[in-house]
């Protein structure tokens, strides 16, 4: 009976997908729980996602921001763009107008080197080398702990920006 055959196949397919999904979630549990926590509560109020998990009040996390929003803020010069990669990577290519601040530099007090005066109420966007890079989140956290209130992490980072054909620059720290 064809109907019975399809029902049987559909059940088997559901079971295969369910088992695979459970295996995938179990295997990547640390990554998934990190990604879940990485979306702060306030993000749910300001952006599209309602999947934000509650984070401890004393653990302020930077908010994620997408390419188009970064471009708008960059063009309007309404944000300070911070490159969390190494000085050498920065020199090879960076978002035009960005300031270099590697993690080890950011952990010093004050986070920004002397001569770089950024008001505490400035909008700061931190990026590094795309989704596989966590330095932007680390620098973002350090900046929030240092009192900067409006810090965003641009997870697409330099590769996405460059590939989109948006302005880049090379050379030393600006």
């Amino acid at each position: 009976m064809p109907k019975k055959t399809w029902l049987h196949t559909a059940l088997e397919i559901s079971l295969i997908i369910l088992i695979s999904a459970c295996a995938g979630i179990a295997w990547n549990w640390t990554l998934l729980s990190g990604a879940w926590r990485g979306e702060p509560t306030q993000q749910a109020q300001t952006a599209q996602s309602s999947q934000a998990a509650a984070t401890p009040a004393d653990e302020a996390l930077p908010m994620p921001i997408g390419l188009m929003q970064v471009k708008e803020l960059h063009d309007a010069k309404e944000a300070v763009i911070v490159d969390a990669r190494s000085v050498a990577s920065f020199a090879e290519g960076h978002i035009a107008g960005a300031v270099v601040l590697p993690v080890e530099e950011a952990r010093k007090t004050p986070p920004f080197p002397s001569g770089v005066n950024i008001p505490k109420d400035a909008t700061i966007i931190v990026y590094c080398n795309g989704f596989s890079c966590h330095d932007s989140m680390e620098v973002g956290k350090v900046l929030m702990q240092a009192g900067y209130a409006s810090v965003y992490v641009y997870e697409g980072g330099y590769p996405e920006w460059r590939d989109a054909g948006y302005p880049v620059a090379t050379g030393g720290a600006s």
Binding site: K4, I13, A21, I25, W27, L32, Q51, F131, E155
Partner: protein, 148 residues
């Protein structure tokens, strides 16, 4: 010649498709964060869903690949692979329409960029291979006959 082609083609296609999906799964499982980035580059899913898809999809691919290679539950494996390919093709088509110049993220993450057009052509071949398995593989026909 024609007889031997008819006899060996379905099994060859089934095993080749299985190995391709096992390979695709293993390289993604090895670097789930990079794969999440590739998924996010399509700008279709919300933030956390990119990670969830990156965690689950490779394991579905791995399971289906293993089913095809071992010849166990071939019909289910081929149907899931065909459905996944249709989803991938829809995502690639949407990337092309929106003018996104991104890496397809199909195999090795962070390597040389594969354009959505090439990936779309490749997925069409995989889809055709899945249909060959579904239509011609004796294991699928035998199971269907038993269940029918």
């Amino acid at each position: 010649m024609k007889e031997s082609l008819k006899r060996y083609l379905p099994a060859t296609v089934r095993i080749a498709l299985g190995i391709i999906f096992i390979y695709a799964a293993l390289v993604k499982i090895a670097d789930p964060v990079a794969f999440a980035g590739s998924v996010a580059a399509y700008k279709i899913l919300p933030y956390f869903a990119n990670y969830l898809a990156a965690a689950v999809l490779p394991f579905v691919e791995l399971a289906c690949g293993l089913l095809l290679v071992t010849g166990y539950r071939v019909k289910c494996g081929a149907l899931i692979i065909a459905a996944m390919n249709l989803v991938f093709m829809a995502a690639l088509a949407s990337a092309i329409v929106r003018g996104l110049d991104i890496d397809c993220g199909c195999f090795k993450q962070g390597g040389d960029k594969t354009s959505p057009w090439i990936a779309l052509a490749r997925d069409t071949v995989f889809l055709a291979m899945a249909f060959v398995v579904l239509k011609m593989d004796p294991k699928v026909k035998r199971v269907s006959a038993q269940q029918g």
